[in-house]
Amino acid sequence: MENENIRSSHDRLEPKLWKRLLPFLAPSKKLIIALLVICITQAGIEASYPLFTKYAINNFAEKGTSQGLLPFVLVYLGAIIAASILNMCWVVICMRIDTGTAKRLRHEQFLRLQSVGVDYFAKHSVGYLTGRFMSDTGRVTEVFAWLLGEAIYIFFIVVVSVIIMLTLSWQLGLITIAVIPVVVFITFMIEPKTMRANRRVRELNSLISGSYNEGITGVKTAKSLVAEEKFTQEFRGLTGDMYRASRRVGLLGSVILPAATSIGLFAVGAMLYRAGILVDQRLLDYGTLAAFITFTMAIIDPVAHLAFFYTELLGYQAALERVVKLLDEEPMITDTPEVTEKYGDMFNPKRENWEKLHGDVEFSHVWFRYPESEKYILEDFCLDVPRGKSVAIVGETGAGKSTIVNLACRFYEPERGAVLIDGRDSRERSQLWLHSGLGYVLQDPQLFSGTIRENIRYGRLDATDAEVEAAARLVCADKVAEHCENGYETQVGEGGAQLSTGQKQLISFARAVLADPPIFVLDEATSSIDTETERLIQDAIGKALSGRTSFIIAHRLSTIMRCDLILVVDDGKVIERGTHRELIAKRGRYRELFDAMRIEEELSSKK
């Protein structure tokens, strides 16, 4: 239903949508006014050029004298220079409006994305979102600054030209003006067709991208099935459709500009005929005739372009729509006004009012389901984790192990029941209060561009160098720094790409330890890392967890067995809970998982 609406909106201009940009344009108000003034002045000057032609022909060419040529040249030159300066101002102002608006839009988008639900990132890939940030936002503001700037300028130049022509000779002027609606009419006849054809091209384009994606990602499967030939044939069918659709767009697009130019020529022909008679009757001079020819040829293209702008604007509407959708993204978790009053918000925390976080976590009769899902994942779920205790969550990949962690971290809130932190509903205190007491280590450790030191310091921004290094030593991350040429000042690259997964993991441990959090969340890695790093990480886990409440999504036997409580998750639900001993005796799912892990360990153990 919603999709349908979005689709149909591309056919018409939606002023409502464009209005959404106003608040972001507003700070550039002065620039916009300046732009208008510049456009009008510039149009005035440039529209007068044919008058100079007229003057030159009438006064020099016709009269056969070069007297007064110098002042004429100087005035003309002055006009040209003035126009050029205005032109330069136009560029600079358009750029300022463009980039200023884009900056404000991006900032707002960024803020929105800091507070959307974490599942938002499961539904939208980072690549997609980055596309919204950079290219879509750029396109939208580009329209406003450049396209509209140009449109305003063209509009004025057409208006001024028409007025001058009518004043010079209304008969000839009318011939030219009569041509304008023809050009506009042709454009509006063809453009909707082009737009529809373009939509088909876009659809095919995404199908083709999808095919490349499947072909390249599944190349091994295609080879094992000997289906390369078949897929290539199918792909050829798709590109064949694409060829026909874009050929249609190309053919339609070939009409307007040549048509406009020819219509302009027609007008000149008609005008000449009329002019011949007028000149004969001494009602018209050569100079005016020359000026008219110049005027007519000069305004036809701009008129065709004005009509183009309309379609361009429609084309950009899709980008705007995606941008607005992001701006409309509501934060999933919000603090109540009372909480914000006392504890502050994300950007202005009132740390002085914060209670100390001890780390008692209790799930009290929690009912929970993911948004847009009907199935409850937790039904009347209770779990008490006193401070300093550890909980292991085990299950197959994709079984939904992170749900409990998501609730404990308040990335989600229960539908019914409550998650109690230190005995109080976590909603009674601010998100930042809880998050400031969390240490979080991900299976796929996320680092930021910058040095090793900067990455560790992310855990506590005011930590001294000595504290950073102490934290690193505690979890053996100092070995990583030692291994690198520049020690702690080594650049880790984009997302930490210069380091191995194991090294990244050790640094993210150090980062969490530096924060000294009462609650620790650990998503343990399954990826194969060399045994040396593996041993270091096991040590790191032991040191990092001691004395803290911890939730561990666990894959390693040694980690699981040392936890105080084990939860077994299957298909999103907690199906078994207890200590290692209890669960082994139960011979259920845990036992199966445990055996599988033991087998893997047995097979990789050396005799």
């Binding site: 060419a61 050029s84 300066i85 960024f110 390249i216 022909g269 020819i293 930042l432 011979r587 055996d595």
Partner: protein, 644 residues
């Protein structure tokens, strides 16, 4: 030494240039004539637009003005004379009609050249896309492994679009600009040499100016792109690590960091707007000054009677018509460097060496005997190619020496028998299947793998793979209907009876019927997600449809429960009585019924025999068996509890 290096790079550059050129020619296959036609039509259209001012000038001079000075333009006279032969009317009317006819011609040529060009360039793009797809299908897995999937897909989409722009606009603008300048120069020199010199002087000046400034601007743009890269990276890192940001409560810090970069990016663009503004306005200034010069000098000439009024009009309109394309020239040239980069990146895919197909090899009767003899194999060092086409080792700070995955492996599988394989992650089990199907080629001196007595390297690739039904460890299904997925190897439309028969053997028929749209369910569409086990079973059914005499299941029932696992195995056995079957699994219950079982460890087979033989051996197999059968024995668990 240094000298030698430069010659080498120069030669390399020349070679890339040559292969890029060859690629371009290849891509214009079937469109060369069209492209040529559009160039000719283009010239005609430009000629028509130029002739019109000549006619206008003639009309003004000799029809309206009754001028007697100067010679009328030869072309205009010819045209009007020709027109006079067809229509008898006052000369003024004939002239107007002639202008109208030229307007029509200009339209027809203008439309025709654009239309023909559109067809030619869309054909070019189709060739490019088809070629990329086909070639990437033919490239070996080892080639694909060196590239990031996302990077390859981006090349096939973004770079293709850049090339499309090149074919559709840039190339033709270049041609058009040249034709326009040539025609304009011919016309103006025909009228008045001295004034023509004024016009033609300005052409190289403006062209060189726009080229040079174009280079300067592209440097600014490069700097902008760098800052854009920083900003993009920052956004990507923030979004990727959104949980980290939240868990550490770093939203404020992140927003501040982003704000700084955002501001830097904005300022960077504003900085470059000065040079852009300067460029445009100075270019405008230049062309208007040229116009002014023509107008003033021309007026003086007319005043002195050296030139007619009509000729001055022609001069003015020629000057105007030339000024825009000349400015365009500089910009197009700098745009074309982008296309050149894109073409280079695409050429890299095109120049990848396809798999050796061994087209005329031996096609032995597939009895299904398989022999691995002293097979040694290691994957090449993990070299990745960056988006810029540079090769980098993936983890520069980690040891990247290739490790032998298989070290002298010997294994004989009798035709029609079943082999079970047990082994830890990384022990080389999957490598075995890749080498058997030649997904990775076994180098000449690294032992031999033979099927039905013939070295696999001598068997035609398609024949080999058609006869081996391999179910890969990672299941990959296509976004088609379930039926189409199962029947993906058949060339004609899927026969539902056969599809269902195979699905039934793979124990997935019931699951599929349970979907709302049954076999017409499109996989991956909104709301429909198959569970891991269902996907694996669909993949099994798909492979069964191949009816291959050799079947390989690479851990392909891991997400299926033990009972279903047994049903599937029994079904497969019953359906393919004579087939050789290789099953890789962690489940003893899956392996124990096999004729022979191999236990792999570090690229070697360390235990080999029947179930009972291996139990008696008391090695890894025995201990794994003990762990799994401990379910049914009392008291077994206490041992594990004290284990750690």
């Amino acid at each position: 030494m240094k000298n030698k290096d430069t010659t080498k790079t120069e030669k390399q550059e020349f070679n890339t240039l040559k292969s890029k050129g060859a690629l371009l020619l290849r891509l214009y296959r079937g469109a060369k004539l069209l492209f040529g036609a559009s160039v000719i039509l283009n010239a005609l259209q430009i000629a028509a637009t130029f002739l019109a001012p000549l006619l206008v000038g003639y009309t003004a001079d000799f029809v309206i003005g009754n001028s007697v000075d100067g010679a009328p333009s030869g072309i205009a006279v010819t045209v009007i004379d020709a027109a006079r032969r067809f229509i008898s009317a006052p000369e003024l009317l004939i002239c107007s009609i002639a202008i109208g006819v030229f307007a029509l011609l200009a339209f027809l040529f203008g439309f025709a050249y654009r239309a023909v060009l559109a067809v030619a360039s869309e054909r070019f793009v189709k060739n490019l896309r088809d070629g990329l797809y086909e070639h990437s299908m033919r490239l070996p897995v080892s080639w694909h492994n060196r590239y990031l999937t996302g990077d390859l897909i981006q090349r096939c989409t973004t770079d293709v679009n850049t090339m499309r722009e090149f074919a559709r606009t840039q190339l033709i603008i270049l041609i058009r600009v040249i034709i326009t300048i040539v025609i304009a120069i011919v016309i103006v020199f025909g009228i008045n040499t001295r004034l023509a010199l004024v016009v033609s002087c300005s052409i190289p000046i403006v062209a060189v100016y726009s080229y040079v400034i174009g280079k300067v601007i592209s440097k600014y743009f490069q700097a902008n792109e760098e800052v854009e890269g920083e900003l993009t990276t920052d956004i990507q890192e923030n979004l990727t690590a959104n949980r980290v940001v939240r868990a550490f409560g770093r939203e404020e810090y992140e927003t501040e960091k982003f704000g700084k970069l955002n501001e830097k990016y904005t300022q960077q663009w504003i900085k470059s707007s000065y040079i852009m503004g300067l460029f445009w306005s100075v270019a405008d200034l230049m062309s208007y000054v040229t116009l002014l010069a023509v107008l003033s000098v021309g007026s003086v000439f007319v005043a002195r009677g050296e030139m007619s009024f009509g000729e001055l009009l022609v001069f003015l309109s020629c000057t105007q018509q030339v000024s825009w394309p000349v400015r365009q020239l500089g910009r197009t040239l700098s745009d074309m460097t982008k296309a050149s980069v894109a073409l280079g990146r695409l050429n890299e895919i095109y120049s990848g060496k396809p798999e050796t197909t061994t087209e005329n090899g031996k096609t032995p009767d597939m009895t299904g005997d398989i022999v691995f003899h002293n097979v040694r194999f290691s994957y090449p060092a993990p070299v990745k190619v960056t988006a810029e086409g540079e090769e980098v080792t993936e983890q520069p700070q980690v040891n990247t020496e290739p490790v032998d995955v298989l070290c002298g492996l010997d294994l004989t599988i009798a035709g029609g028998s079943t082999l079970g394989v047990l082994g830890a992650t990384g022990s080389g089990k999957s490598t075995l299947t890749y080498l058997l199907t030649r997904m990775w080629e076994l180098p000449e001196d690294c032992g031999e793998i033979s099927v039905s007595g013939v070295d696999t390297r001598e068997i035609p690739l398609h024949y080999l793979r058609e006869n081996i039904g391999l179910v890969l460890q990672e299941t990959f299904l296509y976004s088609k209907t379930v039926a189409e997925n199962i029947a993906i190897t058949s060339s004609c439309a899927p026969d539902l009876d056969i599809v269902r028969e195979k699905a039934a053997i793979a124990s997935v028929d019931g699951d599929i019927l349970g979907f709302e749209k049954g076999y017409d369910t499109i996989i991956g569409e909104r709301g429909v997600t198959l569970s891991g086990g269902q996907k694996q079973r669909v993949a099994i059914a798909r492979t069964l449809l191949k009816n291959a005499p050799i079947m390989v299941f690479d851990d392909s029932m891991s997400a299926v429960d033990t009972d279903t696992d047994r049903n599937i195995r029994q079904g497969i056995r019953a359906a393919t009585k004579k087939a050789t079957v290789i099953i890789i699994s962690h489940r003893i219950s899956t392996l124990m019924a096999a004729d022979k079982i191999a236990v792999m460890e570090d690229g070697r087979i360390t235990e080999f025999g029947t179930h009972s033989e291996l139990l008696a051996l008391g090695g890894h197999y025995r201990r794994v068996y003990d762990i799994q059968s401990a379910y049914d024995e009392e008291g077994g668990e206490s041992a594990f509890l004290e284990d750690k």
